[in-house]
């Protein structure tokens, strides 16, 4: 690649690339090579495509794209220019796709998306319900381009914003545009990025850093990873624009070590952009200088907290530090230099704002939360994966329309947003519009955008225990409220879910939780009790049932309830007797029953019974039976 000496050279290069890349008259398979689809065999599909194309002597361009979102149904791929979407593609299906679509130009029905077995397949990607409601800004190029090829990014309009900024905007213009767009931090807290940038710009000192927080640690959330893997240049462009706006010269991308593909693709992207002169010294022939470096984290959740992240960049132990000084102030950033830290998704939104203007961005979403947000939709929902939706969409739309409803058409119970630090939202708020402020008003938060859907078979106490055990094990150990407080809360929850709950435990949890929120040093501790506090708020009766009745209505917690065999349903297969390790299931005159003196409530018989004749009941039921 030849280094671009000025902005016109970039324009000319793009003109050439626009013509040559993604030509409408060539056949193209855009195969998702995100981590999930790779795991389900995307590369095998690609190999088969190649060998099939060789066999039939067809010219087929294969583009290995980043995550296309519908991870549940991977490997997914798109055939262009017809824009036909295939899901769950197996290597043996490739020959049919080849025959039908690429040679014949008609869809191959068996590979298309269907809502269920009976419904009509949907050939076009834009018609798939999962994609229909989405509006992609941060993920705009995910699934469209090959992340390892900067030409693809340039061809779809990449670095246009940087080109615009360097040719016609002053740093203040860029900053004002971002400020006007009211872009709120996508990392969770929703602090306006424009204000943050202004702080950093106003800080004294010549050396400043731009830091991208890619330490995505929430279980189940992977939007940042998708951007870093699938569209690394949009992150680089966003960071360069930020650096231009605030007057920074150096950038760090802090990535989890567990994201090897992201690290690889980012490294490649930095190299390519440097070769083209889009980052580095004298960018596009101007005085603007910006170099980017990748820092790999060692897998501590707390390093996503800004001050701990700074400590980690410095090579210190990932302990949060006291604020003030904030990162944007002298003494706050790495080695004391003022810095601006934003989430990956935030930076990915910046080029769009700068290129299309703040008006475009403000028109999307709600007044206080403009733009879109990426959610990682998981849990008991039919379509799981990454969805990017405009702010203000309701939870119901996300879960039932995009997500396709609850798995097995069971009853919805709650949705957990904001990752392990977020809260659980019950059914009554299903029509809540999703934006930063409304989620906080119901005790949850936007967080990085994890969205875990729970059905009636989910025990809320167990959910609280799960999330708390995560934050507890990720507590860094610096301040006592978080270090000891969360472990105490977890102990109480363990007690409750194993049937040892005591009167007063709920109050103890609430009191301790509030003290931790008020007293902990960093955001991790401040939000760690949230799952417990919100589940107590909305599902207090479940806690009370666990403690008083020793009963788990979702039948998740072992050690609770009374196990009985419903004789009217039992067809005497004897599997329950075989399953019981304690000899509690007794056989008597063609009848199985459970000896309560021997039963340890291990749930073995419950899971063994093929027809669900083993019942778990409250204590009262047992006494009535006697």
């Amino acid at each position: 690649m030849v280094r671009l000496k000025n902005i016109n050279e970039l324009k000319e290069l793009r003109k050439v690339l626009e013509k040559e890349t993604f030509k409408p008259d060539t056949m193209r398979a855009k195969v998702c090579c995100g981590t999930a689809c790779t795991a389900t065999g995307a590369y095998k599909v690609i190999d088969t495509f190649k060998s099939e194309a060789g066999k039939r002597d067809v010219s087929l361009e294969i583009v290995k794209t980043g995550c296309q979102g519908l991870c549940q149904k991977g490997p997914v791929l798109k055939i262009e220019p017809a824009d036909i979407f295939y899901q769950r593609t197996k290597p043996e299906n490739v020959q049919w796709i080849m025959g039908y679509t690429i040679l014949g130009g008609v869809p191959y029905r068996q590979g298309l998306y269907r809502d269920n077995f009976l419904s009509e397949p949907v050939p076009l990607m834009t018609e798939v319900p999962f994609y229909k409601k989405q509006l992609r800004i941060a993920l705009r190029n995910n699934g469209r381009i090959d992340p390892c090829n900067i030409n693809h990014y340039l061809a779809v309009g990449g670095y246009k914003a940087l080109e615009k900024a360097l040719s016609s905007m002053t740093p203040d213009d860029v900053l004002n545009e971002v400020d006007k767009a009211n872009l709120r931090g996508r990392g969770g807290a929703g602090f306006p990025a424009g204000r943050k940038w202004k702080h950093s710009k106003g800080a004294p000192g010549k050396i400043k850093f731009v830091i991208a927080n890619g330490d995505e640690g929430d279980p189940g959330a992977f939007m940042d990873r998708s951007i870093m893997e699938g569209d690394p240049h949009s992150l680089l462009e966003g960071m360069a624009l930020c650096a231009y706006a605030i007057g920074a010269q150096y950038g760090f991308i802090y990535v989890r070590h567990e994201y090897p593909l992201a690290v690889k693709n980012l490294g490649l992207a930095i190299k390519q952009a440097e070769e083209l002169g889009l980052i580095g010294e004298n960018i596009l022939g101007t005085d603007f200088k910006f170099t980017v470096d990748i820092r790999e984290g060692a897998g501590a959740f707390v390093c996503g907290e800004s001050t701990a992240l700074v400590a980690s960049i410095e090579g210190e132990r990932g302990f949060p530090r006291v604020r003030p000084p904030r990162l944007s102030e002298p003494g706050g950033g790495p080695w004391g230099f003022p810095s601006n830290l934003n989430n990956i998704e935030t930076y990915a939104c910046v080029p769009v704002i700068v290129e299309k203007g703040s008006g475009y961005f403000l028109a999307i979403g709600t007044k206080n939360s403009p733009g879109t947000k990426v959610f990682a939709l998981t849990g008991k929902v039919k379509n799981t994966g990454l969805v990017e939706v405009p702010m203000g969409i309701t939870l119901r739309e996300i879960i039932y329309e995009i997500g396709g409803g609850i798995l097995g058409d069971k009853k919805f119970k709650a949705v957990q947003t904001g990752g392990p630090s977020g809260g659980c939202i019950p059914e009554k708020y299903l029509d809540l519009s999703v934006d930063f402020d409304s989620l906080i008003s119901v005790g949850s938060m936007m967080g990085s955008g994890g969205m875990v859907v729970m059905d009636e078979e989910t025990c809320m106490v167990d959910v609280a225990k799960f999330f708390l055990s995560f934050t507890q094990s990720e507590s860094c150990g610096k301040c006592p409220p978080c270090r000891i407080g969360t472990s105490q809360m977890l102990d109480i929850l363990k007690r409750i879910t194993s049937g040892q709950g005591q009167e007063g435990d709920i109050e103890r949890l609430e009191d301790l939780g509030k003290k931790i929120v008020a007293g902990a040093l960093c955001g991790l501790g401040n939000s760690a009790p949230n799952p417990v506090l919100t589940t107590i708020k909305y599902f207090r009766e479940e806690y009370e049932e666990h403690i008083r009745d020793k009963y788990c209505r979702a039948k998740v917690c072992s050690g609770l309830g009374v196990y009985t065999i419903e004789h009217s349903e039992c067809f005497l297969c004897g599997l329950c007797k075989e399953a019981c390790a304690f000899g509690a299931v007794k056989e008597l005159r063609n009848k199985f029953f459970i000896d309560q003196d021997y039963c340890t409530k291990c749930k073995a018989c419950y899971t063994a019974c093929p027809i669900g004749a083993v019942k778990v009941g409250k204590k009262e039921r047992y006494s009535v039976q006697r």
Binding site: V322, S473, S475, C476, C479, P480, Q488, A518, G519
Partner: protein, 852 residues
């Protein structure tokens, strides 16, 4: 200035102060466990939370800066509840083993739990499963008691520059441990013990000795180096059990090194003298014609191998007998050979009062001016050079001087070892942004914290200084205004013409880029300082090095105070000023100096040595021992039976530093009061008392009745006026002369102090001996490989004089071609290898052989 109110009290503090500091300064107590004024705010313990009016959240006062008009409340029901919860949580895992914890009674956690605690516990108890780590020699680590305030970790890393402790693990199981959970190997300063708010870090020597509330605490001055830190000694039943630093007290503001904290127990060493001893030999009686002493049946037999007179013995004697015996002998020598055949040597460890008394005794009672102190090998050299270069008397030292300097140049010294508290200030300056340029041949703590390390060859400091001056001269960075008024500039120019960067780099082994960078950094800095140490226990520097450094100071037109060479021991400064044969005499003739007395076989016939051990501490001990054994009469007055005392005719037991009143003058010239904290066991007397009694037994009255008389006499004479001697500053061009090389003796033997010891006195401390108990020869890995020396094996070290056997440690901190050893330990006899050089640097060349 910012005005705010705390608990209704209006307070004015500087901008940038934290709420906690503002409160503490104004006597308002906010509970805290992780705050330390020496460290950066940490904000971990969450006890110091306060309420600020109009703000819903709680503020951690240790890390929140004050703002104007802020109204802070430090004690409200809400805060009490928050603190209560934090303490309740801490006590969930902190074991309640206070009955057998040494900290109980002065434990912060205990105190706060008492203040805020509530009787019922809501939570399940949890302990860490970490057994106490008792493997280290002086510090015991009990992770179960640790509340992870991180003070020890930060103090060790940020403040001491050592970083021996760290956090291991994450979340609840986090523990404070040395790296990889190995045995704690550190500086053994014990600062972590003082800082620990619980009993997680404890002093091992003090363990289970006494409950703190039974201890009587008395402040006195540390007997080791010249920093003059204040020790707070804990005494029970007349025995010193521990020593600690109290925050903000004394010259060191509560910082102590390992010597001050653990080394005080040298006064309880086995070979402390209890009664006067008189040697009985045939020679005694025949030569001096003294009436033959009746041999009692009670002999004190000495180790015959160490005894130069195998046929003689020491006999215990009473004070009267011993003093009469001395006075008789001294009188007869004085009568036969005149008073000037008697000399005296004073120490840098005794009080000003003792030294004054010795001076007075020699001059008034004996009538001899032959008096000098051991400071002649160290501090006197500095003073002499100072006078020559700057034309002023009294070297002005300020231990806090590094703090405001932009560049600090350190020449072949490790001040963190010799003057630990001064070293701490250098480290602090480095943290605050000073550039520290360390020229040293070996790796030290200072080189590790330096901004630029110049790995020069040993003993080439003068060449380096000349090279720096040459570059400054060539680049015109010197001060053109002041230079004209200083004599000798042209001579310096001529000399420097010879020190081209190429030549200097050839001598020192640096690259030209390194040399130029260092010179420019130093010369271009707005404020500068050069620091080094001069002492008898080091042999790479001397008067010439000081003069070369002074030339650099003059060349840049800096204040003489930019040259900081602190006096080496607790009272070197006082000893130099009080015991100087040519200073403040009532008799105009100049007496013989220490070199004359110790190395010239015919100089004197009798010697009175007070508190010094020339047979061990000074170079070329074989000549000294020859001289001492050939004396007609040798009196040694010391606290223990030293190498010199073993040669004496009479040994007098003296009180140790803790057993007497008096004053020490620290390196800064500050006279500090010493307190008698315990009574001496058995018969030892303060040195001044012995001399007063001796004068009486010689039939003369010194006019001194008690210690106050001496203190008065000193204060009237001792206050020195810097203006009393004032001549013009001048350059003294110094040429670098390399150590003679020979094929037989290829290695340079470099003497360096080690951190755990100070002189030979501390080698009697049991605690310090646990860490370093023998002289170890450090040798480079490559050299060791060549010579077939394994780590921890024995080697034979030979100079042209003699050879000694030492244990070797193979180290990568040592440059090739040199070996390092310390002088502290009597058994090593290192000084038998060295030669005496009259205050000039003198590296002894040696040969090392592996012992098979």
């Amino acid at each position: 200035m910012v005005t705010l109110t705390i608990d209704g009290k209006t307070i004015e503090v500087e901008e940038g102060t934290t709420i906690l500091e503002a409160a503490l300064k104004n006597g308002i107590r906010i509970p805290n466990l992780c705050y330390d004024r020496r460290l950066k705010p940490y904000g971990a313990c969450r006890l110091c939370v306060v309420e600020v009016e109009g703000q819903p959240r709680l503020f951690a006062s240790c890390s929140s800066p004050v703002t104007a008009g802020m109204a802070v409340k430090t004690d409200t029901p809400k805060l009490r509840k928050a603190r209560q919860t934090v303490l309740e949580l801490m006590l969930v895992h902190h074991p309640l083993d206070c009955p057998l914890c040494d900290k109980a009674g002065e434990c912060d956690l205990q105190d706060f739990a008492y203040d805020y605690g509530k009787p019922e516990a809501r939570f399940i108890r949890h302990r860490k499963k970490a057994p106490p780590d008792v493997r280290g020699p002086l510090v015991e680590l009990t992770a179960n008691r640790c509340i992870l305030c991180g003070k020890c970790v930060r103090l060790c890393d940020e403040h001491q520059g050592r970083g021996a402790l760290g956090f291991i693990g994450r979340g609840f199981p986090t523990v404070v441990q040395p790296a990889f959970g190995e045995i704690l190997e550190c500086d053994y300063c014990g600062q972590c013990i003082d800082a620990c708010p619980t009993g997680a870090l404890l002093s091992k020597p003090y363990k289970f000795k006494a409950r703190p509330w039974f201890l009587e605490e008395k402040d006195t001055i540390c007997p080791f180096c010249g920093c003059g830190c204040t020790l707070t000694l804990g005494i029970r039943d007349g025995e010193i059990l521990r020593s600690r630093g109290v925050e903000g007290i004394g010259q060191s503001k509560g910082n102590l090194c390992g010597r001050g904290r653990f080394g005080f127990d040298y006064i309880y060493s086995k070979n402390r003298l209890k009664t006067p001893l008189i040697r009985i030999t045939p020679r005694n009686s025949s030569k001096l014609g003294v009436k033959s002493l009746e041999l009692k049946d009670k002999f004190q037999s000495q180790d015959s191998s160490l005894n130069p007179h195998p046929s003689s013995f020491f006999r215990e004697a009473s004070w009267t007998e011993a003093l009469n015996y001395i006075s008789e002998n001294l009188r007869s020598i004085s009568e036969q050979h005149g008073p000037s055949s008697i000399g005296a040597i004073g120490p840098h460890r005794c009080t000003n009062e003792d030294n004054h008394m010795l001076q007075k005794f020699m001059k008034n009672i004996i009538g001899s001016n032959n008096i000098d102190s051991s400071a002649a090998f160290g501090y006197a050299v500095v003073e002499k050079a100072w006078e020559t270069a700057f034309g002023q008397k009294r070297h002005s030292i300020n231990l806090t001087s590094p703090l405001d300097k932009e560049a600090i140049l350190i020449v072949e010294s490790d001040l963190t070892v010799t003057h630990p508290v001064f070293g701490l200030n250098i480290l602090q300056a480095q943290r605050e942004g000073s550039k520290i340029i360390v020229a040293d041949s070996r790796e030290t703590k200072l080189t590790r914290h330096s901004s630029q390390q110049l790995g020069i060859k040993p003993g080439t400091g003068i060449a380096l200084l000349n090279g720096i001056m040459k570059i400054i001269m060539d680049q015109g960075l010197f001060n053109k205004e002041t230079i004209s008024g200083i004599a000798g500039f042209s001579a310096l120019q001529t000399l420097l013409n010879d020190y081209t960067p190429e030549k200097v780099c050839r001598i020192t082994g640096l690259t030209e880029a390194e040399l130029t960078a260092a010179s420019e950094t130093y010369a271009r800095a707005k404020s500068r300082m050069i620091s080094l140490t001069i002492s008898a226990s080091e042999n790479t520097k001397g008067m010439d090095t000081v003069l070369a450094a002074a030339n650099l100071i003059l060349l840049l037109g800096d204040d003489p105070g930019s040259l900081q060479i602190p006096a080496e021991y607790s009272n070197s400064f006082g000893a130099y000023h009080l015991l100087n044969g040519s200073n403040g005499l009532n008799n105009s003739s100049t007496g013989k100096d220490i070199f004359e007395m110790l190395y010239n076989p015919d100089s004197i016939r009798a010697l009175y040595i007070m508190g010094e051990d020339p047979a061990l501490n000074f170079p070329d001990t074989s000549s000294i021992i020859n001289k001492l054994t050939s004396l007609d009469f040798l009196v040694v007055q010391d606290i223990a039976l030293t190498e010199t005392a073993k040669l004496a005719h009479v040994v007098l037991p003296a009180s140790s530093w803790a057993e007497k009143d008096g004053t020490f003058t620290n390196a800064e010239g500050l006279i500090q009061q010493l307190q008698k904290v315990i009574d001496a066991a058995e018969q030892p007397l303060p040195d001044w008392r012995i001399l007063k009694d001796l004068a009486l037994s010689m039939g003369k009255d010194t006019g001194i009745r008690n210690i106050e008389d001496i203190t008065k006499a000193i204060t009237s004479s001792f206050i020195l006026h810097p203006s009393s001697f004032n001549s013009q500053p001048c350059f003294s061009p110094i040429n670098y002369s390399p150590a003679e090389k020979s094929d037989t003796y290829p290695m340079a033997l470099i003497l360096r102090d080690i951190l755990q010891h100070s002189g030979s006195m501390s080698s009697r401390s049991k605690s310090l001996d646990l860490v370093a108990s023998e002289a170890i020869l450090e040798i480079n890995e490559e050299d060791a490989k060549k010579l077939g020396i394994a780590d921890n094996s024995h080697v034979k070290v030979s100079s042209s004089r003699t050879s000694v056997y030492l244990k070797a440690r193979v180290s990568d901190e040592i440059p090739e071609g040199a070996v390092f050893v310390s002088l502290h330990f009597p058994h090593a006899k290192i000084n038998t290898l060295t030669s005496h050089s009259n205050g000039m640097p003198s590296i002894t060349m040696v040969k090392i052989e592996a012992v098979k």
